[in-house]
Symmetry: D2
Subunit: 340 residues, 4 copies
């Protein structure tokens, strides 16, 4: 597994430690609800950073593409051999074959959740391009039908203490209990991740074809298992009247409400940008399922191997990574946009 | 107002009449709920189609970019002069100025809904590239807090008979009544548009960075006033268990349920593709609003001019147009993808 | 004829007068060697510049795409009707038809030299983005087999006084005489344009896939009738030994010789960038030519209409325009490349 | 060293053996005129080809990006340590530092000729996409001031028998002798490579911004040490009269002469496409050179390490590779262009 990140300006000090820290957050085996594969997920940088110019764990960006690999020590392709002739329900087996006329069934290939590790590496670099002024924090808001109550008070920094990445302690416990119960039945769960971005200055995003919300949606819905995205007051806000929904100005660059989620006409307005993303329940359920094989004949399958009962806790750093990548793009392009 | 559509294959017969018909659907002044500006919105083709090779209203595509303009006979920029020094709540006035350091306040510029006319023209051409096998139908599902009941039966082809583009007659009447009431208070409404795409073959969309859902989301959320998008069972489906949500196969390329909205791993699976889009209530409310001017001082404004109390009926053909454009791209790229 | 230039930063004062001045340089009818069509070639700006913020002939860039049109008052498509069924030698008639299956024979379509007017408009804007530090000057060095002697002294600013855009007076006269003689025989000429760019700072261009020379070559060979391009000492320099050809440093950013033409490893080194471009003789000769028609049968044709006996004088501003466009791109991207 | 080639259609049988064969052609240590580094240059495929579906040395393309690496067993970065503070004449040392503010001096980095190995790998895959109908053959036409006589007869297939890739035996011998003499003086040579492409059907290339010649020039001038490119009769042809230069049609898709080099209006016309590329003499001469160091002070350097006295023989497969890549792009895009 590897990737290449182009467009990183030269002369930046990039911390490899910070990259690895982000990668570790999405690593399996961190709680009882994530698979216990012994993937070390050690990031190796191949190019673009100068290993000799090393100031306390930082490496200097050279302006060239940053290539990286993450070795997979543990993956056994044989786990998947029994699945080469069947189409698992709600997996991409059938669609890949329809698209390409051929399918590499080993490990789910590019449809595997493992692909997202590269997104996290790239996002951790994008985060360092943006510096400390921009802070992106995602957390699990709903899972398995259980959600943080609308009026609940919570400290978003507690996300990291929760096995399910839910910062509201009581809800977190309830989610865990529900998950254990589902898991014991061989079933799986989905849910909703909230993401809040602080520090985006007014003026990022393009007015017509590259609206900030459109680009975030494109990036986020590129993550596997997503089902939808909404900004600001979202679907609920579409029920309101204009007089209720409008965000009136308090001062220059400061509004009373933030139903818009920090974006007007595709461009950031200086308020917090926030959005919610829905994830479907994991398709690899352990209980028996009816499906068909390549010949179109009905068969019953039981998906073996280690699979998380829920994808959301590990998706939290992926959501953040994709948002950092989108913002880094707009940060850099805005340098060109405004003549100064 | 004009645009250029590149990438249309040569040798296609394109009907100008069909283009104009789509444009007329989004034109204002079609019902009591849309502004009565006498915009004729006549599409003129400047290039890319051969006017002399004209077979019963069709023109032959030349393979060159199709340039077009739509003259605006009626727009009075003076309507907007009084707004040059204020920031209207939930408009893009402030964000444009933050981005560019300058703002062209005449008619809202590129943030104006009028910009979408080019999308409709391009979409009407994309529709003809795709031919008759692919049918996209959007309709208003919720408006002003009123929605088609979950168990209601309706004929989607009746959308065109409704003043608010809602195919369920009773709901349509209720929406209209509610809208009249809101309008008389100087207020506005938002809502949700559903869109269903029939006939997409399995195999369209890219597996990682250009997933079919990601590209649709990017295109749709590029439309002004959108707040969110969800595919298949969407946010509601994220509450379900895997065993409930999985779409099991009936036959090759045919599933029992369609919670995925016709997309697996970013690639179409041959079922109907469908999604829902949330629109915020129109920001230009007629009642007085508090805001600030360029100096940051609080003032009260009353937005004059003709503004729709709701954007949804006119957004229906825009949603369809953007979906046709995305599908035409994948149709053409898939010709290259699969070696044959 | 029209175009759209995207990516111009906002907040720049752009002179419409300077745009029109460049366009006038390429206009036909300026000397006895250019056709006398009464094309006014008046540039109209449609978007992207604010007409009301007009400071002594300058308009403010808004950051949005700059759309423009140039009306063609005079073109008579009927001139070309007789050619609809034949393939003119060394024209693009046959290749267009092979590519598209259809050909719009009116005025040569996109293969017409008239297409270059848009390049000149865009280049004139790019020139203003770059400001006064970068000066691009092209001139005719060889024409009809006659060239400026290698050891000749001349003032490049005299280019504009020459009917054939050759700054060396004696050579210019000889070229004119030769051209009159060729023209009277119904024949045409080609030649070489030299282009010198002063003021490019060291560091522009990308090291692998977007080398400054590669991008200039791509832009320049996109002009019709070009046959080749060489940088610095070019083909002649390839005959030399390394010890002769190497450009040794005098001081930081200053070399003794400039055989490299100001580019090392695809990146500007602070010296003058220069290159030479070969143009073929005009294909539309007035004397009779043997060719074939669509049926593949041999016929004789005589090309009517007004055609220049040589394309070079009018190509001088086009070369400059394309070079300005390439440099403006690198100027803007370099703002993003270097972290500061 | 590695790369990623995206856009390869699925379902193609790709021979790894053929890829390795092309890579071996550009490998050093093949004759007395190329360095004797023991680089094995073994290509490893990481993705995009299915190793298990292996039919007599062929692997099936999966439609996903083809990632590959070539391990460098031998490179000693220490060879370059002494150069970290100086700017070698006509190298990219100074320009990289001007661009990025930092330079990775180990092995020349991305300005190293070693970078071209990836181009050869990608080109070898592109060649297999195109199939057997398109044949690209490059050879050394001029070197160190010695060239194949204009009227010489030779068999292009003999290129591989020559130590300097010149198919004309007498010229090849003369070049070798001259090179030995230059090499013994610590000096280097440049020259010209000719490239001829057979089998391109009429209709490839785009008429305005992606002309076939412009795209070839962009690709070829992206190769290090190139100084210029000319198509068909090139610079020499620009001296001719139109009546001499025009390529008249013999039959449909067949012309008497081919001064255009197989391209009209940016689009292939079905004749052979051919072009010549000038290369500068190698900048790393062994004799002492005056230059400056980072402080701007004059110093004398002697470049150590193994360097070829001429780059042309190893550039022959690189020219072919870049041409295959450009043609594969047009082959695939033409599938979309023409409606059928």
């Amino acid at each position: 597994m590897g990737g290449v990140l182009d467009g990183v300006p030269s002369g930046l000090l990039i911390s490899i430690f910070e990259i690895q820290k982000e990668v570790n957050r999405r690593r399996p085996g961190q709680s009882e609800f994530t698979t216990s594969r012994s993937e070390l997920d050690k990031v190796e940088i191949l190019s673009g950073l100068h290993p000799d110019i090393n100031d306390q764990g930082y490496q200097l960006s050279l302006g060239s593409p940053i290539g990286f690999v993450i070795q997979n020590k543990d993956k056994k392709s044989s786990d998947y051999n029994s699945l080469s002739d069947v189409y698992r329900p709600s997996h991409a087996d059938f669609t890949y074959e329809a698209k390409y006329g051929v399918r590499d069934h080993r490990g789910g290939g590019r449809a595997s959740a493992r692909e997202t590790i590269c997104r996290v590496v790239a996002g951790a670099i994008a985060k360092q391009i943006l510096g400390n002024d921009i802070i992106i924090q995602a957390y699990v808001e709903r899972m398995a039908g259980i959600g943080i109550p609308a009026d609940a008070q919570f400290d978003i920094s507690k996300t990291k203490n929760s096995n399910v990445c839910c910062p509201h302690e009581i809800t977190s416990k309830a989610m865990e209990e529900k998950l254990r119960s589902l898991s014991s039945e061989g079933d799986t769960a989905g849910g909703v991740i909230s993401c809040r971005i602080k520090g985006v200055p007014a003026g990022w995003g393009e007015p017509v074809f590259d609206k900030l919300n459109a680009r975030l949606a494109y990036a986020i819905l590129g993550i596997n298992a997503t089902k939808g995205i909404e900004f600001g007051s979202g679907f609920a806000g579409s029920e309101n009247k204009g007089s209720e929904e409008n965000d009136s100005f308090k001062t220059l660059g400061k509004t009373h409400s933030n139903n818009s989620g920090g974006i007007q006409g595709g461009i950031s307005n200086g308020q917090d940008v926030f959005f919610r993303t829905a994830f479907k329940p994991v398709s690899s359920i352990k209980s028996k399922q009816k499906t068909i094989n390549k010949a179109g004949l009905p068969i019953e399958i039981k998906i073996e191997g280690r699979h998380d009962p829920v994808v959301l806790p590990r998706a939290v750093p992926i959501i953040e990574a994709m948002a950092y990548l989108v913002l880094a793009d707009f940060y850099l392009t805005q340098r060109v946009q405004l003549n100064s």
